[in-house]
């Protein structure tokens, strides 16, 4: 916990560095943004075509009523989890190292949930009637079906998107004030409005802390519930290999897992692009990687125990799906997932990997690929070999689904790029706090106390040891 290299960063430098990242973008920024825009437009065209012709153009069929749209939905929802959840949990457990990385992680959360929310909508057969899923008052007192996990989804996503946006925004207010003070033109107006007159008075800080911690307390269970609900889309059904009791925690673990991987990806990119080396240090990467590793292990446990218990259950339907998963037409997907998401994370057990930024970057992409494949193999193989052997069929997603999938990546990246240029992607005030704490840590009384206790312990234990 020692040698933090940012010990002596001047506060003014922090402001300068971070505000610099908001300045006029380089050419490459516009190129990437342009590519994203093109992807989004392709997706819009695909959706328009699908809207016009009917969902059949997506090449789903009976028994594959769901496919890539749903697996993408789960993927993006999963990605959205790590940001808020990690930020909130680490805030509550007072882990200091979250401070330089939580802002962009939260932004990632918000944008991936905005991406995720698209999918259940375009996946509907009658998109134009999607509002029927909402419990709005109407003359005929027709309610949606509250028993349906899809309705829980609708509620969960809305709540989660709102709260995540609020959490991101609240945490950003002091920084927005800094931006306001340094900005001109339309930015000045924007930041003035958003910072709501933040002056950094003690009263403001007290209120701010309370609000922020309360939001975090609310968000942790919310995030867990959101992905548990996403899991229930599958677990509540009676489909073999969907009806799995461990799906809710499994999905939560998977969400954190892929989200952490995404954080690592963005971590390396931002660090590289904005030259944030001083804030996003190797130590923080090390901790993020360790956390990812731990989550990967939980995910692995749940995944493997699912396989084991299916095997152990002797349940004909479930076993059939399992066997088909490993030997059937979708086997490359499943094995790919196991390779990318089960085996690959063990690389993070090695310090050398954890401390190598680009290794972590590529590894994180592999993990995300693995988790994307995982979502696909959750949706498709069980449908392919369902209860009714007569309907067994394999279907691969068609061009429309694939282009909309690509578009979702373009859409997410586009939003994130725009965010990076308008809002500080590293929290200035919290990095300052961290620097402050580090600087003054040695003089802190309670720390001294703890050290005293430790000394005493060691003494006794040495005695015990030699005595025994």
């Amino acid at each position: 916990m020692s040698n933090y290299s940012m010990k002596d960063i001047e506060w003014a430098k922090i402001n300068k560095d971070v505000l610099k990242s908001l300045e006029s973008p380089r050419k490459s920024f516009w190129v990437v943004l342009g590519v994203c825009l093109v992807l989004v437009l392709i997706g819009v065209a695909a959706e328009a075509y699908q809207y016009q012709e009917g969902l059949g153009v997506a090449l789903m069929n009976r028994p594959h009523f769901w496919q890539l749209y749903i697996s993408n939905f789960v993927f993006w929802i999963g990605m959205s989890h790590s940001g808020t959840l990690l930020s909130a949990i680490l805030l509550l457990t007072k882990a200091d190292w979250r401070k330089p990385i939580y802002r962009f992680a939260e932004a990632m959360t918000l944008f991936s949930i905005l991406t995720a929310a698209i999918f259940p909508v375009i996946h509907l057969g009658r998109v134009w009637d999607m509002y029927w899923v909402l419990p709005y008052p109407n003359q005929r007192t027709i309610w949606p079906n509250f028993r349906s996990p899809l309705l829980w989804d609708a509620a969960a996503i809305t709540t989660y998107a709102t709260s995540s946006a609020l959490f991101l925004y609240i945490g950003m207010i002091p920084d927005l004030a800094i931006c306001r003070d340094n900005a001109k033109g339309w930015r000045k107006k924007l930041y003035s409005a958003l910072s709501m007159g933040w002056m950094g008075r003690a009263r403001e800080w007290i209120a701010f802390r309370k609000t922020y911690v309360l939001m975090a307390c609310f968000l942790v269970p919310l995030a867990v519930s959101v992905h548990s609900i996403v899991a229930s889309d599958f677990a509540m059904s009676i489909m073999p290999d969907w009806h799995i009791t461990s799906f809710p925690p499994y999905f939560v673990a998977g969400a954190l897992y892929s989200g952490c991987a995404a954080i690592i990806t963005l971590f390396v990119l931002l660090r590289h692009v904005f030259r944030f080396e001083e804030y996003m240090t190797t130590e923080i990467m090390d901790k993020t990687a360790k956390l990812t590793f731990a989550i990967a292990m939980v995910w692995n446990y749940l995944n493997l125990s699912e396989y084991a218990s299916i095997w152990y259950s002797n349940d004909m339907f479930e076993k059939e799906v399992l066997i088909e998963k490993f030997t059937g037409p979708y086997a490359p997907i499943v094995w790919g997932m196991l390779l990318c998401a089960t085996v690959a994370p063990f690389a993070m057990a090695f310090k050398k990997v954890r401390h190598n930024m680009w290794a972590m970057f590529w590894l994180s992409l592999v993990l995300q690929l693995g988790m994307w494949l995982e979502r696909f193999q959750i949706v498709s193989p069980p449908l392919a070999s369902n209860h009714e052997p007569w309907t067994w069929a394999v279907v691969w997603p068609g061009l429309v689904q694939l282009s909309i999938t690509l578009a979702s990546f373009g859409w997410f990246t586009m939003l994130f790029l725009i965010f990076c240029k308008i809002f500080p992607s590293v929290s200035m005030y919290e990095v300052k706090e961290m620097v402050f704490h580090r600087r003054h840590a040695s003089s802190r009384a309670e720390l001294q106390d703890l050290d005293k206790v430790k000394e005493e312990m060691i003494k006794t234990e040495e005695g015990l040891h030699h005595g025994a």
Binding site: R62, F65, G125, R126, W143, A154, N386, T391
Partner: protein
């Protein structure tokens, strides 16, 4: 308001079977000893229920809309040794045919998962699909263990060449794209028979045989029997009784000699269709 209603009707809502008192529970029995797999029922269903012909391309992508289908399997009967079947090179016991359509489950897994309650249980114990309400989430289709729900992936009726549209049955709608549909037990015929019974002054009793489903009507071997399971005098109820297939169980406690069974009843979905075992003369 909903809460108030819930409180007022609490005792009713707590019942295992909401429609305990309903005089109707439509059910079917299909004798596989008689079924020859000819497909008359399939076409009759197309004719009666305005099923779209999707054409070769759509059929190839799995978008066919046959509410009723005849599944064909090749397996040999178990436990039989034979003098000349080498590795089962020829299916010498013929094919296994089974007409499969919505089983009108009383614990239908499709019902609770619909986000807009477009599929629900009617007081007749039919698993109804409200086309107008359906938004096309297709969850019901996934959760159906029989995979007998059919989704309108396209507007199949859009390009129907004239005058084929003159055949369409005005008693029920044609379905637009994005809507799930499935076998209704010819609910329009049930409706007509109930209306008539009502006119005749006995709304709680529809005479057995007054409703025939299109598939039952056309079946050349009369393998399909349809009727009201709540009417002990109905043919179908008698058959269920005779074969000791009981509702409300997921495992029948009965003699192996009796032929009745319900497909996948071990999933506790309470199908209202009973099948009777296929029969083969093992001595031939």
């Amino acid at each position: 308001m909903a809460l108030k209603r819930m409180i007022e009707n609490w005792s009713r809502l707590r019942k295992r079977d909401y429609y305990e008192d309903s005089p109707f529970m439509w059910g079917m029995s299909i004798d596989l000893n008689k079924c020859i797999g000819c497909g008359a029922c399939v076409t009759a269903c197309y004719a009666e229920n305005n099923l779209p012909v999707v054409g070769k391309e759509h059929y190839a992508t799995g978008h066919a809309m046959h509410w009723m289908r005849i599944e064909r399997y090749w397996e040999e009967p178990e436990g039989e040794t034979d003098i000349d079947i080498k590795d089962g090179e020829y299916p010498e016991r013929g094919a296994h045919y089974i007409p499969m359509m919505c089983q009108q489950c009383n614990h239908a897994p499709c019902e609770p998962v619909c986000p807009v309650a477009a599929t629900y249980h009617t007081t007749d114990h039919l698993n109804a699909q409200v086309y107008n309400r359906c938004v096309g989430s297709r969850y019901c289709g996934n959760n159906c263990p029989y995979k007998v729900r059919y989704f309108n992936f396209f507007d199949y009726w859009k390009d129907l060449p004239s005058p084929l549209e003159m055949q369409l049955n005005p008693d029920l709608s044609v379905r637009s794209k994005g809507v799930m549909e499935k076998c209704t037990f010819c609910v329009q015929r049930i409706r007509a028979a109930k209306d008539q019974a009502n006119d005749e002054g006995h709304p709680h009793h529809v005479e057995d045989g007054a409703v025939k489903t299109a598939c039952q009507q056309s079946c050349p071997t009369q393998a399909i029997v349809f009727g009201n399971l709540r009417d002990p005098e109905s043919e179908v109820a008698k058959q269920w009784e005779e074969h000791e297939v009981e509702l409300g169980r997921h495992e029948q406690d009965k003699s192996e000699d009796l032929r009745g069974y319900r497909v996948l009843e071990e999933l506790n979905v309470e199908p209202c269709v009973m099948y009777l075992d296929r029969v083969r003369d093992t001595e031939a």
